[in-house]
């Protein structure tokens, strides 16, 4: 019952991250083990569009199709604030016990299947029911939110490069929204360039999400294609082959979307387009939030310092961490990219967000609110020295004038 509290040498320290203070391991093993069952959320959430499509069919009321949208933006942020932060970190012993437990992987395989069922069943529902465009929009946006969650699970599995089955499921779940190139771009691109101006998946200070997305989506795709082409060329293959790990999931998406268009009719064009685009938008939002304004410094040779705990924004809210597979314990994720979600840890004194991603995603869509909340946090992080901030070049002068006030040591 009583969790033991001890200080340990942290994984982040082991990873050479000098500025992280040791994680306080509050091993509440009962809670950590209970979370085992709460991760079912990853299978239950895609169940919401399935259930809502069923209810819409039973009642004839298309407004049911908005359910996941309302749950995500209306209920999750409230639950997140209400449930508070998750103080529990697994100890080294518990990490050893949990990290190779296949149960946690099977949940993600289950989620993969649920996401495909949700997409197809929602597609079937919007094409067969006599409902308004507004209801169809709700169905598409709810599927879009589910697609965003699918990308989180795809992210988790896509990191386990040496486990062929997980990579297969990663491709399958990323293909739900046609974003199969993500795991290549993310592993070999984002993890290398994170918190630098070169990274299309790191947002800059003063850059709104609407500006960021125009750089992020094409930049990420281009980088993925270049990385995959280079890999295939090293193997003496053409990038235009079935060995191309971008083409493989793309074929799954094209096949599935074509079949849905053939069977369910032209309503699939807006439905699938909105669903996929809104899924991508969730990912854009996550990328936007995770490293906003933070920048790694260059050494004398012009080489960037290693990514440290201070280069990621974190949120330790309970509910959103359950739903998002601890993606919000983001500093630990960058220190240990292959560490499975159930054993990711929180650290004191890492850059912190005031709420979980569901709220922050919504906030990011209102740039002036985002800037007024987050800009002071970034300035504070840089101790007023704007030379240390990753600033959008278009507003650099203005931001310097407004915020540059370095603390003198």
């Amino acid at each position: 019952m009583t969790g033991k509290v001890e200080k340990i040498k942290t994984g982040i320290e082991n990873a050479g991250v000098a500025d992280a203070t040791a994680a306080v391991v509050k091993e509440d093993s009962a809670w950590i083990k209970n979370k085992r069952y709460m991760y079912f959320a990853s299978m239950i959430l895609p169940g919401i569009p399935i259930l809502s499509a069923f209810l819409a069919g039973e009642t004839g009321n298309g407004l049911w199709l908005w359910s996941l949208f309302i749950v995500f933006y209306g209920i999750l942020p409230v639950l997140d604030q209400w449930s508070g932060v998750d103080a529990a970190n697994p100890s080294d012993e518990l990490v050893e016990e949990l990290k190779d437990d296949r149960y946690y992987v099977y949940i993600l395989y289950g989620a993969t299947i649920m996401h495909w069922i949700a997409l197809v069943y929602m597609a079937y529902t919007v094409s067969t029911l006599d409902i308004s465009w507004f209801s169809i929009l709700g169905g598409a946006l709810s599927i879009g939110l589910a697609n965003g969650l699918a990308l989180v699970a795809g992210h988790e599995m896509g990191h386990k490069v040496n486990d062929k089955v997980q990579v297969f499921f990663a491709k399958l779940i990323l293909a739900v929204s046609g974003y199969g190139h993500f795991f290549i771009e993310h592993n070999k691109g984002h993890h290398k360039d994170v918190a630098t101006p070169e990274d299309p998946a790191t947002s800059a200070f003063g850059e709104s999400i609407y500006k960021f997305v125009q750089r992020e989506i094409p930049g990420a795709f281009r980088r993925a294609w270049e990385l995959e082409s280079a890999r295939l060329h090293r193997l003496g293959k053409s990038e235009w082959s079935l060995s191309n790990e971008i083409i493989q999931p793309a074929l799954i998406t094209i096949t599935a979307y074509t079949l849905m268009l053939a069977y369910f009719g032209p309503v699939m064009i807006p439905f699938l387009a909105i669903g996929a685009a809104y899924g991508w938008w969730q990912l854009t939002g996550a990328n936007y939030i995770e490293h906003y304004g933070l920048m790694r410094e260059r050494d004398a040779n012009g080489r960037y310092e290693r990514c440290q705990a201070r280069h990621s924004w974190n949120s330790n809210h309970k509910i959103s961490n359950l739903v998002l597979l601890h993606l919000q314990r983001h500093s630990d994720h960058h220190a240990h990219p292959t560490r499975p979600y159930q054993v990711l840890r929180d650290y004191p004194e890492v850059p912190g967000l005031p709420s979980g991603y569901p709220f922050m995603l919504a906030l990011a869509m209102f740039p002036s609110a985002w800037f007024s909340l987050m800009n002071p946090k970034v300035v504070n992080w840089a101790e007023g020295d704007m030379n240390k901030v990753n600033i959008d070049p278009d507003v650099k002068e203005e931001m310097f004038k407004r915020y540059h006030n370095p603390k003198v040591a």
Binding site: N14, A15, H191, A335, P337
Partner: protein, 58 residues
């Protein structure tokens, strides 16, 4: 005199290859340093992943 057989290790996340024969001189790891002799707190120079994230390449 035995000939050392150098091995290569690859970062699972970003694909960077550590070749024992070449070392990483700019990182202070001399040519010929065996992977197991690299300190455990060393991290991938490209993506900052931990040493345990490297796997042996055939």
């Amino acid at each position: 005199m035995s000939v050392v057989e150098y091995k290569k290790y690859c970062c699972v996340t970003c694909d960077l290859v550590y070749d024992e024969e070449l070392g990483f001189p700019e990182e202070g790891i001399a040519p010929g340093t065996l992977f197991e002799d690299i300190p455990d707190d060393w991290t991938c120079p490209e993506c900052s992943a931990s040493k345990s994230d490297f796997f042996l390449v055939e």
